[in-house]
Amino acid sequence: MNKRVLIVGAGIAGMEAAAGLSSLNYEVLLFEKDEKPGGHLKNWERLFPTQRLGSEVLEFLEKGIGETVKLISNTNIISAEKSDKNFKVVSDKGDVWYGDALLITTGYDLFEARKKEEYGHGIYDNVFTSAELESLFLNKKELLTHQNKKPARIGFIHCVGSRDKKVGNVYCSKVCCVTAVKQAIEVREKLPECEVYCFYMDLRMYGMHFEELYNEAQEKWGVTFIRGRLSETAENIDKSLQIKVEDTLLGRPLRMTVDMLVLMVGFVPSKSTTMLGKEVGIDFNSNGFLKTMDEHTSTNITGKPGVFVAGTCTSPQTITNTIIDGRSAALTIHEWLSKSGTV
């Protein structure tokens, strides 16, 4: 009988690992708490740096899991343990499954913008998160202020909940800079009259074609980048927003009115990641993500034999990295099951 791998979380990493393991003839049970697989990818219309549709990547991943992977959706796995030779996972409804190896791909949650009280999310109507803006794009909704006005000026705030020791996240979330550039361009495409500003501390355009996208944003789309971190948001009497930053390249404070503010919220370990990590008893790294055996050479292996990890439950990652990591996890699990064969 084929060996069975349990994968918790049918986001990008879980789906891609499932596809890999399935093509290596393992029986794969892929658990997903939502109705449909795809994780956060379902919420993004277009992807950086190419502006291709997120749905295309989702189609690719769905094709991978095809008919052979057993997707068990609407199922929230709340505990996982080693039981004799097997792994046992239990859902919140009390259903139980067994397998020979366990892969955790429970991903990230978006940083809760409200925690940056001074930025006014959840208080001032025209403060949005990057995810809320993307949802407008995805659902083909018109980009309007809360007062149903076409915005004349929009500000993007980088590093919200990232590189911020005060909120407990010292790390860079990696994808927000380039997402801001992508969304800034999209705003300019949709509203050619609207001025767009990005407020950043450093622009981290590390990926292939990211720098070109940044260049295009400036040259073709007239997006202005101002180096300075938002200190506070306040609301004007007409419900537009007053923002205060230090223009650090000029060494002077700068004050600007914007009609909408978009907060580029970063990654935090998802609730499932934290919960399952504790349940299984694997270690966390200093940033609260799941710890891998070796940051360079063993990114899918945990301290517990037979328990593997992939994707953004271990660190903020781009879609490209997550797909690679999922595929790599499939191979790592295959190696382990072929060699030891038992737990």
């Binding site: 409200r114 009280e117 001074e118 999310h121 959840g122 208080i123 001032y124 109507d125 506070e232 306040a234 609301e235 004007n236 009497i237 007053q242």
Partner: protein
């Protein structure tokens, strides 16, 4: 969304405030700036709320002014504070309530320091004993006096003679609440409602029928500073900070400003005078300046105290338009009479501040 969002934040910043038996620590400068306020606080607590409160003539400054002007070292400050705590201990009280915001900030800072560095506390005990042969207990509860009024805001509302409403139109009064920086900017968790959207004064306004204004420069310092007003050459900074706030609040046409700090009401009141005299500008609706009240004065008005007993004649910006709005009875002839009818003399009133037939 605004109110729901703020309420969620307010929920997270609740602090413990003692119910009764307070040791009251006066402010150095409030007694001179707005002498009626502290007196009103004592009256409200004792006569209206029936609380036990010890007003001690023996306590001294906390040295806050000196400390923040770099003329008193921290060790001295701690020892002086320790002596005040010792007086509280001696009087048999455990709940320390300073009237000054900077004192409150400084006491909080010192107690936190002692918590994290017990050896500093021991050193302070040693200093105090060597200097005075005194010992002391730390307060069980430290709260600012505005926290106390906030705690009993609903009780006060139940006894209120007046509401914060323009009786001519029925419109709730639009009130700017200004929180002293040292109330919660240093320790957000020690302030009711936190530092970004403090609730301590907003809660009073809400309970007494008014409406608070969230204007762009709400969080900006009034500019009181310490060396910024102590040294005449630096006063421009102080003035400019207040001016920025006035300009920012102007479009909302506030009926008045309330504060919980010694310096803020003083400077927001006096700088309006300076601006009126130098730039011929006022910031209230209808070509009037904006009255600035302390929260005790506001509570006193709501409870029906005589405006002149509250010391409202000590304000530079005339308070009468507000009294008219709330239809509070007052006798113009008694405005400049002090305790026991003593004539205080009438100040020169600048053209832009003149009220009716003055």
């Amino acid at each position: 969304m605004e109110q729901t969002g703020k309420k969620a934040i307010w929920q997270e910043y609740q602090k413990e405030i003692a119910e009764d038996k307070y040791y009251y620590a006066r402010s150095c400068i409030r007694q001179n700036f707005f002498p009626g306020s502290e007196h009103a606080f004592l009256n409200i607590l004792r006569n209206n709320l029936k609380k036990d409160l010890h007003d001690d003539a023996k306590h001294t400054t906390c040295t806050g002014i000196g400390y923040h002007s770099d003329v008193v070292p921290m060790e001295t400050t701690m020892t002086v504070v320790a002596r005040n705590f010792s007086l509280m201990t001696e009087a048999g009280y455990q709940n320390y309530i300073p009237s000054c915001i900077t004192s409150f900030g400084l006491y909080t800072e010192i107690i936190e320091t002692w918590k994290h560095f017990p050896e500093t506390l021991e050193k302070t005990r040693d200093f105090l004993f060597k200097a005075t042969k005194r010992t002391f207990d730390l307060p069980n509860n430290l709260a600012h006096t505005s926290d106390i009024i906030y705690k009993f805001r609903h009780e006060i509302a139940a006894m209120a003679k007046y509401k914060l409403v323009d009786v001519h139109t029925g419109r709730p009064l639009r009130i700017v609440d200004h929180i002293g920086c040292h109330y919660s900017k240093m320790f957000p968790e020690k302030g009711v409602g936190g530092a970004e959207y403090p609730y301590v004064l907003a809660g009073m306004v809400e309970a007494w029928g008014g409406e608070t204004i969230d204007y762009p420069e709400r969080r900006h310092c009034c500019g009181f500073g310490f060396r910024q007003y102590l040294v005449k050459a630096n006063r421009s900074y102080s003035l400019s900070a207040s001016r920025k706030k006035f300009e920012s609040m102007q479009p909302y046409e506030p009926d008045f400003i309330i504060t919980n700090c010694p310096g803020c009401p003083y400077f927001m009141d006096r700088w309006q005078y300076v601006i009126a005299e130098t730039e011929h500008k006022v910031y209230g609706a209808g070509g009037k300046a904006i009255p600035v009240l302390t929260y005790e004065e506001m509570a006193g008005l709501v409870l029906g105290y005589n405006p002149w007993d509250l010391g409202l004649q000590m304000h530079q910006v005339p308070i009468e338009p507000l009294l008219e709005k709330m239809r509070i009875a007052y006798n113009p002839a008694e405005k400049y009479l002090g305790v026991n009818g003593k004539d205080l003399g009438k100040p020169v009133i600048p053209e832009l501040f003149k009220y009716q037939d003055e």
